[in-house]
């Protein structure tokens, strides 16, 4: 939070005529809704110690499939959107079958499923963006609906975040997810249904990634086969940076959203200020590395280890 304030002050001093405006806040929120949702899709699996590298591809898959249902099969947009969400869930189920059912390491397993889904995307799209005028105009009307300049996707992100926050912080299952992420074997021996919860985590990430894909499709007015994977690194960066906030080492909803806003404010400010394009990547990289490094150092310094096992450091998680 201090970082966000510091960035805001820096750019307000640097570019007082153009940065400290309501439209800048609106722009930061509206333009980061997709990456925020994708980042949120990673929180639950990472809390459970599961890497889902397929979320970017799931984004593209749902967008392409929903667009194809409208353009190629004449279905109403609402039906296509619903079908897109189901496909996201199906993708999550596929991941769960591979990672939890068969027991393949999540990092490799979801990399493999991502490749399979990439093939399906090519099969459906023939590697071309899928669109027509009806789809573009309907979706862009949807994407630009706003209240006070804040567009619909931002409200969706907030709603998802509230539900996820409540689940992780105030339910037994949420606590159990963190316990699984800390030590899956210990959690299993203590009677937690680890397989069920890990499968549920992957279903959730598939569903939310699908939702992110539909939002991206609405914003661009087309189902593009290459649209999702480029967001993957930004989403992971936000989740890991978010884990250094609020919950001190744990993946969490509030920290993730704050990280998206911090990174978004920094990159927006740099672009508004006319900084060179490479500076945006440098800013994200330095902030992420410094935040994680300092968290790691603090963990070493303190007597009680607090960082989640295989996610940020190699120390166990404190509960």
């Amino acid at each position: 939070m201090y970082l966000l304030v510091a960035i805001g002050v820096i750019f307000s001093v640097w570019k007082p005529a153009v940065f400290p405006r309501l439209t800048t806040v609106q722009s930061i929120l509206n333009s980061n809704a997709t990456v925020a949702l994708l980042a949120l899709s990673l929180v639950i699996p990472l809390a459970a110690g599961v890497f889902d590298l397929s979320v970017g591809t799931v984004m593209a898959l749902t967008g392409v499939l929903a667009a194809e249902l409208v353009v190629g099969h004449g279905l109403p947009v609402s039906v296509a959107l619903f079908a897109g969400l189901l496909v996201g869930l199906a993708a999550g189920a596929f991941n769960a079958a591979i990672v939890v059912g068969i027991g393949i390491e999540s990092f490799i397993g979801t990399l493999g499923t991502s490749s399979v889904m990439g093939a399906i995307i090519l099969l459906i799209s023939n590697n071309e963006s899928i669109r027509n005028e009806h789809l573009s105009s309907t979706l862009q009307d949807l994407a630009t609906r706003n209240v006070g300049g804040i567009q619909l996707p931002v409200f969706i992100v907030v709603a998802v975040a509230v539900v996820m926050w409540y689940f992780l912080e105030h339910t037994v299952s949420g606590r159990r997810l963190y316990a699984i992420g800390f030590n899956v074997e210990a959690a299993r021996l203590s009677g937690i249904h680890t397989k069920k919860l890990r499968a549920g985590a992957l279903l959730t990430s598939g569903f939310l990634a699908g939702l992110a894909g539909l939002i991206l499709m609405a914003q661009t007015g087309s189902g593009a086969p290459t649209s999702g994977p480029p967001y993957l690194l930004d989403a992971f960066a936000a989740v890991f940076l978010g884990a250094t906030q609020f919950r001190n080492g744990r993946f969490n909803t509030s920290g993730t959203l704050l990280a998206v806003v911090v990174l978004g404010t920094g990159t927006t400010g740099l672009t508004i200020a006319g900084a060179r394009t490479w500076t945006l990547n440098l800013f994200i990289g330095v902030v992420l590395v410094v935040a994680l490094a300092l968290t790691k150092l603090e963990v070493r310094r303190t007597a009680a280890p607090i960082v989640q096992g295989d996610a940020i450091g190699d120390e166990p998680l404190q509960h």
């Binding site: 722009s27 509206n30 590697n127 593009a224 649209s227 006319g274 500076t279």
Partner: protein
Amino acid sequence: MRSIAIMLAAVIVLASLAACSSSSSTKATTSATTQSSDGLSAAGSAGLAKAKADLEGWQREPTSIELTTPIGKPIPTGKKISAVFAANGSANLLSDPLKAAGKALGWDVKVSETQFTPEAIQSNFAQAVRDKPDAFVYAGFPGATVSQSLSAFAAAKTPVVAETVAETTDASKNYLVLPSPDVYALDGQMLAASITVATGGKGKLMLVTVPAFEIYAPVVAAVNSNLKSYCPDCALAQYDMPAESIGKDSATRITNYIQGHPGINGLVDVFGAFSIGLPTALQGAGIDPKSLKTVALYPPTQVIGMVKQGAVFAAIPFPFDEYMFTAVDAIARLLVGESFSPDVTTAAAKAPAVVWTQANAPANTDTTAGLPIIKDYEAKFRALWGK
């Protein structure tokens, strides 16, 4: 303590980056002092009038394929053509007309699509060399990456046609490049005239290019030079978009830049696809998309649809169909024993020049097929081939 440390780190980074700012230099063109009633200088009024006249000419539908000499000898059938294209949205736009042209001559056309990594490109090119085709066609790959395979084709005297590459035609190696550099200069001129008309000669312009793609450099140079005469009252700022932002955050970057530079009313999109998602991003920043006039080079079909709707002022289409037929024509002439004729090099130097605006853009853009510029191009090529 940790938060303070992170904050300090961010402050140091931002302070460092501040020193690196303003790479996107704004280049005010020369401005005369005399003002006319429309607020333009005398030179500005003259430039605007010239831009309108030129744009009107480019809005007429081209009818010539620039090739007039029939192939005088029978074209052999059963020839094998190999092609390698990048596996992206334009692969089919290239391969479909190439296959159609080949089929018209009774040739077998094998197209490979490759990921855009050096290893994948080189592997596909190496396979094409091993296939020993009668001719080879490719598009858009860097010369340094494929030089070894091109040398092998040259050694085997296999004709090669390259599209949208930075290299130039070398008749001694049977190596034809489509289009020639002259076309990029004309593209830049058409973009400059279009944005001048779109902004009424009073543009505060943003030009967005992708430096990673070498072919855009001459276009950017031509836009800059032509704006000096078309729009002396305009100011132009260049924004270099990283290739990794394509299909990701390009609309956000453009929007943020416009936020930071109030008054920008014209966008010259050299890459052609940056309008996708831009209206939503602009609205999200409280900017009316209608306040920004956009002209685009070689746009995807979706952007041409935006031209028809009036959301994009003008677009210069890429002649996928005409160029692939020109490629096959050039190969046919070489296979019957002719060299690259003046006709072929003329065709390479003269793309069917057209600017599509709301008035003349194709009505139906709900298609994944190409949008030919010359309606009866295929019949005209077949006539030259005696087919």
